[in-house]
Each structure stands twice: as structure tokens, then as C-alpha cells.
């Protein structure tokens, strides 16, 4: 149980980032890249300031900066959103390794950074954020006027525009928010869990967050629930290979593949109403018809 709360925050935060962006109608394949920027910036910020909190802030800002590129390309220049996200991931892969070597002189790992303080139960603040943020996000999305506008922009932007909603600005806001959440997710990985940056980060966690978003049917509570479920599967896998000597069986890979296979199965069987927002991925042209 403790392990779940420790490993869930990166996934939960990034999955919520995916939900925010896609409910506003912008596909975000770039979560992995945003997490990578966030994870690196958080460690750099924490090391140079000496405070893990400054690190978190840097992580959020770096995620937002990466998201700004995605927003600029896909909203202002109407680039294909999938292409833009893929490109962002490629840039993150190269640029962060380059920065890692330039700043810390090693392309493998960074020096250890100050990590977040833990409470009496051994959890840091991000573990509690992973519990609270989904609920707040859910209430905001379903019970407030702003949340309604976001959903309207993701389902039928033209209709929202005729009611006076500024579609592109709202979408840009949601993409930036998505970057903040993904950047914090990356920071949770580096400053929160490992206490340093590893050049392989986030090692597919961004894509797993994407899977959690789909598994959770593009809803905040669903996505967070799926993220916790995936984190639990991960924790169980670690436990098993520890206690049962499952390492001899070498079944780790099967467990690791499970979240992705399950998500695929849910999609294939169409369990429940698994549907992306109607205008997800469709560029919006203010002058179009």
C-alpha cells in the first residue's frame, strides 16, 4: 500500500495532464517529453537552490515551457497535434541528454538532489497531491462554468465559439496546464522518488499516463484511478520478484506489459462508453466554417 502511494504520483499527475489537454480538444502525445523536461529541471532547480520546493516549481515551469511549444505549433500554426507531440518527445530526448551533460558533466545520471521531506507515514507532499488533485480537478471540470467551457471546446468548438468562448485561448490555457501537471509528474519521479535525474527518465511513464487516461475514459477520477491501479500492478510486480524469487521465472516483462494490454482490451471490447472527446485532435480554424 505504501509502495503504491509512493509510485503513483508521477503517473497520476501526468494522466491528469493528458485529461486536461484532451478534454479541451488537443491530443497530447508529448506527455513523455514534458515529463522528461520536468524531471530534469526539477533536479537542476533543487540542486542549484538547495530546496526541493524550488525544484518542483522549476519542474512545473519546464513542463509548461515544453507545452507552450506544443500549443504554439498545434494551435497557432495548426500543425498536426500527433506530429507536434511526437516531435516534442524527440526534442526532449536529445535536448535533455545534452543539457544533462553540459550542466552536470555526465550523460548518465545527475548528482543527488535534495529530496522532498516525508511525513510520519513516510510519504511526501506529492503523494497527498495525487489523492487531492484528481478530486479538485473533477469538481472543477464538472461543476464550474470554466469546466463546462473546457468540455464544450473539446466536444464542439464551433458551438462554444458562437457563445463567446475564445476557443484557441482556452485550448492554449489547457495545454499549458497539461504541461504543468506533466512537469510536476516528472518532478515527482526525480525529486520525489529517486532523488536524482537518470538519463532514461521517464522511461515510458508518459505513455503509461496516456494509457491511464484512455483506461479512465478521459475523466479525471477515472484516469487517476487507472493510474493508481497501474502503480499497484507495478508495486505487486516488485513485491513478487522480491519475495517469490519470480526473478528466476523472469516474468517481470509480463507484469509490465499488463497495463498496456488491459487498456487495449478495454478499448477493443468497448467496455462502457470509451470515447475520446469529439473534437479531440481536430485543429480549430477561427475563420473556417
Amino acid at each position: 500500500m505504501n509502495a503504491i502511494l509512493d509510485f503513483a504520483p508521477p503517473l497520476v499527475l501526468a494522466a491528469l495532464g493528458g485529461v486536461l489537454s484532451e478534454r479541451a480538444g488537443v491530443v497530447n502525445i508529448g506527455l513523455e517529453g514534458m515529463m522528461r523536461f520536468g524531471a530534469f529541471a526539477a533536479v537542476a532547480g533543487a540542486i542549484f537552490s538547495g530546496s526541493p520546493w524550488v525544484g518542483l516549481l522549476c519542474g512545473a515551469l519546464a513542463g509548461a515551457a515544453a507545452a507552450a511549444v506544443h500549443a504554439l505549433l498545434s494551435l497557432r500554426f495548426r500543425a498536426d497535434q500527433v506530429v507536434s507531440g511526437v516531435a516534442l518527445n524527440l526534442v526532449a530526448l536529445g535536448l535533455v541528454t545534452y543539457l544533462l551533460q553540459s550542466v552536470f558533466g555526465s550523460a548518465g545520471v545527475s548528482p543527488p538532489s535534495p529530496s522532498l521531506p516525508r511525513d510520519g507515514f513516510g510519504h511526501n507532499a506529492l503523494a497527498y497531491a495525487a489523492l487531492v488533485v484528481p478530486v479538485v480537478f473533477h469538481l472543477w471540470l464538472t461543476r464550474t462554468a470554466a469546466g463546462l467551457r473546457v468540455r464544450a471546446v473539446g466536444e464542439h468548438p464551433r458551438a462554444a465559439a458562437t457563445l463567446g468562448v475564445r476557443v484557441l485561448s482556452l485550448r492554449a490555457f489547457c495545454v499549458l496546464g497539461s504541461g504543468v501537471l506533466a512537469g510536476l509528474g516528472g518532478a515527482a519521479l526525480s525529486v520525489g522518488i529517486l532523488g536524482q535525474f537518470d538519463s532514461r527518465m521517464p522511461a515510458g511513464q508518459g505513455f503509461m499516463a496516456l494509457a491511464a487516461m484512455v483506461f479512465g475514459r478521459w475523466t479525471p477520477l477515472g484516469a487517476a484511478g487507472a493510474a493508481f491501479f497501474f502503480a499497484a500492478a507495478d508495486a505487486l510486480q516488485r513485491q513478487l520478484s522480491f519475495s517469490l524469487h519470480a526473478a528466476d521465472l523472469r516474468l517481470d516483462g509480463v507484469f509490465l506489459a499488463l497495463p498496456y494490454a488491459l487498456t487495449l482490451l478495454v478499448l477493443a471490447l468497448g467496455i462502457g462508453r470509451t470515447r475520446a472527446p469529439a473534437a479531440d485532435g481536430v485543429p480549430y480554424d477561427p475563420e473556417g466554417r
Binding site: A79, G94, Y98, A211, G253, L256, A257
Partner: protein, 365 residues
């Protein structure tokens, strides 16, 4: 429809791609200078590492061959309007199939390994196509998920467990499957380099793909499906079937790319095999404008970049710099509109109003 969305507003896709690559090189030039190193020496090393003599040329050819094939994989999926993010997973299964069949003591083992890789990749590519036409699952999501299923199943289980060479055990550096038979090695063509038959094979495959897409009825029908499935359906083209065929070919191409790595250089399925070539294929296809010829040119360019980047370490620059250049190029190609003001200016003021008018979405062949 997808092609129109990805490539259309650029009236000069070729020049947009060239401009994007040049801009990316410029950005990286500035980045090297900003970090206090000598950019001219860095680019000199890059060129020497890619083209200076048989050794570097061989490395460029090896990497280009794989990138051409994964690029073609993505480009073929584009023609029927699908975005195949899954070349990485298809490549992994292809590589594993080649490593397994390559161990057999049978005549024609090389050909058999290549065919097995194509088949394995095709099956893994067919899966998202079936999910798309039968269950309406978006291929971007399903191919991403299938990548990770493949990565974890093959690397975390099959190669580490059931298929691991006995005694490879704890040490990762020697882990992996048993070596393939020497008869299954791709023949080396040039003394003093690792250049193997993979490069000419990739070029021949690219030529066949070009012929298929532009000179045959089947290719025409694929493009019709890509331009608009409903319209193609109304014309009597079995659209669902065509989507599945194209995705199977797409997967087969990525599978053969994996086989080239195993049969050409690795000679077994290694314990650590994170290539990224499948993801790079997306970049190659996009910069290549989604055509077979463009993909070959972009594949050779990025292959040379990857090969040359290993020499950058002489200047204290990590080889991942190549990925950075590649990423920036894709970012710029992704948004052809960035260059529109530039084209408008180059064409002269008389043309400017036409360029600033809302672009008409055109479907390219």
C-alpha cells in the same frame, strides 16, 4: 485526409523540409557555440564521422538502411490515412523473429529469417488495423500501447527468460538469445567497413514501394482510401481491407528493419536493445514528405547524422545531439505554416495576397 492535415498547407513540401533541416542545423550550430565549444570543428567531426572513409560510410549505410525501412513503414501507413506510431514494436518483433529463425540449420536461412521478420512485423501491424476497422479504436493510441506491450514482453520476458542463451544469466552485457548461424549473417560488401547487404536491400525495397504506391492499381486504391474513406467506399473500393493490407505491409517493413539490425550487426537478439529506430522512422517519413523517394533521402541524411554524431564526442558533445537536430527538424516540418511568410516574401509582393488567403486544403497524391 490525414495526409492533407499533415502536409497540405505547404505548397512546397520539398522546400519546407529543406528549410526545416537547415534551420535545425543552424539552431544546433548556435547551441554548440553557446556552450563554449567550437561549432565548426564539431560539424567537421560530424561530416568526418559520417562520410570520411569506408568505415564511417559503412556505419552511415547501416543506420540509413534501417531508417529508410522504418520511414517507409510510417509512410505506407500514411497513404491509407493511418498514423503508425508502432514501428518500434513491429521492429522489435521482427528482430526477435529473425534472431529465432536465424539459429536454425536450414538451407536459405538468411532469406527465411528476413521473411519471418516481415511476417512477425506484419502481424503486429495488422492488429491495430483490425482494431481500427472492426472496433473503431484510434490507431495512434493502439500502436503506442502495442509498442510497450512488445517492449516489455520481448525485453522483460522472452529475451530474459525462455529465449535467453543458457548461462547468460546475471550479466546484462552478455545477455540475450543464442547467436544466429553464420549462414544467416548479412554478407559484408566492403572490406574495412561494416557495410552489409542491408543498404542495397533497403533501396530495392524502397523502389518496390514506390512502384506499388504510384504505378499499380492497388497503390491507387490505397491512396484513394487515404484521401477519403467514404468516397473510396462509395466507389466500390473495399476500404477496410485496403487499410489492413497497408498496415500489414507497414508492419512488415518495420519488421525487416529489425532483422537488418540482428542479421547485419548484432548477430543475436541482445539483452539491451533500445534502438529508437522505430520512433525515428516517424521523423524520417515526415521530413521525407511521406513519399518513397523523400523517405530514402531523409533516411540517408538522418543515418549520416546518427553515424557522424558518434564522432562529436571528440568535442565533448554527447551523440544524442543527433536526436536534438532531428527533433527540431520535425518540429519545424510539423508546422509548415511557419515558413509561409518566408515563401510569400521570396515570391515577391505580387503573390503576397494569395499566400495570405486561407489555404485551400489540397490532397496530395
Amino acid at each position: 485526409m490525414l495526409r492533407a492535415r499533415v502536409f497540405a498547407p505547404a505548397r512546397d513540401p520539398l522546400w519546407s523540409a529543406v528549410a526545416a533541416v537547415l534551420a535545425a542545423l543552424l539552431v544546433s550550430f548556435v547551441a554548440i557555440a553557446a556552450s563554449g565549444r567550437n561549432p565548426a570543428a564539431g560539424f567537421g567531426d560530424l561530416v568526418t564521422g559520417a562520410l570520411g572513409g569506408p568505415g564511417p560510410l559503412g556505419e552511415t549505410a547501416i543506420k540509413s538502411a534501417v531508417l529508410i525501412l522504418t520511414g517507409l513503414s510510417v509512410a505506407v501507413a500514411f497513404t491509407v490515412g493511418l498514423f503508425n506510431i508502432g514501428a518500434e514494436g513491429q521492429l522489435i518483433w521482427g528482430g526477435l523473429a529473425a534472431a529465432v529463425v536465424g539459429r536454425l540449420e536450414i538451407p536459405g536461412v538468411l532469406l527465411a529469417s528476413l521473411l519471418a521478420a516481415a511476417l512477425a512485423g506484419a502481424l503486429w501491424g495488422l492488429l491495430p488495423a483490425l482494431l481500427k476497422v472492426r472496433r473503431g479504436v484510434h490507431e495512434v493510441i493502439s500502436t503506442i500501447l502495442l509498442n510497450w506491450v512488445a517492449i516489455h514482453l520481448v525485453h522483460g520476458w522472452l529475451v530474459a527468460g525462455p529465449l535467453a542463451a543458457p548461462g547468460s544469466g546475471a550479466s546484462v552485457s552478455v545477455a540475450g538469445t543464442e547467436p544466429i548461424a553464420t549462414a544467416a549473417w548479412l554478407p559484408r560488401l566492403l572490406p574495412g567497413s561494416r557495410l552489409d547487404a542491408g543498404f542495397p536491400l533497403a533501396l530495392a525495397i524502397a523502389a518496390s514501394v514506390w512502384f506499388l504506391l504510384t504505378r499499380t492499381r492497388r497503390g491507387f486504391e490505397w491512396r484513394a482510401v487515404g484521401a477519403g474513406r467514404e468516397a473510396a467506399h462509395a466507389c466500390g473500393i473495399p476500404d477496410a481491407r485496403r487499410v489492413c493490407e497497408a498496415m500489414a505491409l507497414s508492419g512488415a517493413l518495420a519488421g525487416v528493419a529489425g532483422a537488418l539490425l540482428i542479421l547485419g550487426t548484432e548477430h543475436k537478439y541482445p539483452g539491451v536493445f533500445r534502438t529508437g529506430y522505430g520512433f525515428d522512422g516517424i521523423a524520417v517519413a515526415l521530413v521525407g514528405g511521406g513519399t518513397a523517394a523523400g523517405t530514402v533521402v531523409a533516411g540517408i541524411f538522418f543515418g549520416a547524422l546518427r553515424a557522424g554524431a558518434t564522432r562529436l564526442q571528440l568535442q565533448g558533445i554527447h551523440p544524442s545531439f543527433a536526436e536534438l537536430i532531428q527533433g527540431i527538424a520535425v518540429l519545424l516540418v510539423a508546422a509548415p505554416r511557419i515558413f509561409q511568410p518566408l515563401w510569400a516574401r521570396l515570391r515577391g509582393p505580387s503573390d503576397a495576397p494569395a499566400a495570405s488567403a486561407p489555404p485551400i486544403p489540397t490532397v496530395q497524391p
